[in-house]
Symmetry: C2
Subunit: 109 residues, 2 copies
DNA sequence: ATAATGCTTAACCATACGGTTCACTATAGC
DNA sequence: GCTATAGTGAACCGTATGGTTAAGCATTAT
């Protein structure tokens, strides 16, 4: 199971974000991607492996060319996590409830 | 200006995600946070500095204790970026339009 | 005044990470 | 069959990163 921070770590690099951004417009081959970033092909490969390891990207081999495609699901999961985290004020209502709990003989620590 | 990948990099560490998660419930002092993660206080400090550098967290000194608080804005920005990226299929309609553009004498490359 | 507490800074260490080059495999084209 | 093209793998390198300990500063408590 892939954790949220792993997806964030994968997105937390300028080159990888650039790759992701490119892939929003259309799918690309590995060497097309490498051509965009003034880094070597093996360097690009490493980034692709990181992105693929968290499911953000998938690769399909056709003949000798490999097509790289963006996968929306992990992005959605990360987005949901961010939304839940950002709306922490609702959680803080629970916190208010906790304070009341302090003056009661209830457990629920 | 803080870039998206910087926010993602900040969230892309298990300890820092843990800190953020804790702060969704309520604000904490620095040493409270340090107590939760079996890492030293200076280690915790480093993580806090990273989170603060991208604005995800803010610190307020009161006397000798420092209160750490979650800031929703950068999380929202990251969330928006993810949403835009995830809904790349709509962008690919533009791509389809591009193909038509190829057979036309229009520019718009 | 002294001691204890809360936080910070500095120096250091091992490992992970982003990059490279070189060698290799596999498919496509002549 | 030979050559060119697309992608991979392996080894290596410098720097960034996550962690530590030790020392220092500022505020609170005795």
């Amino acid at each position: 199971m892939v954790k949220h921070y792993e997806v964030f770590a994968a997105l937390g690099d300028p080159t990888r974000q650039g790759i992701v951004d490119l892939l929003t417009r259309r799918e690309r081959t590995v060497s097309e991607l490498a051509g965009e970033f003034a880094i070597s092909l093996p360097g690009t490969l490493k980034h692709l492996r990181v992105l693929q390891s968290v499911g953000v990207v998938s690769r399909t081999k056709t003949g000798r060319t490999v097509t790289v495609r963006l996968e929306p699901e992990p992005l959605g999961a990360a987005e949901d996590y961010l939304r839940r985290t950002r709306t922490f004020w609702t959680h803080q209502l629970d916190n208010l409830a906790d304070r009341f709990a302090d003056s009661k003989p209830k457990e629920l620590r």
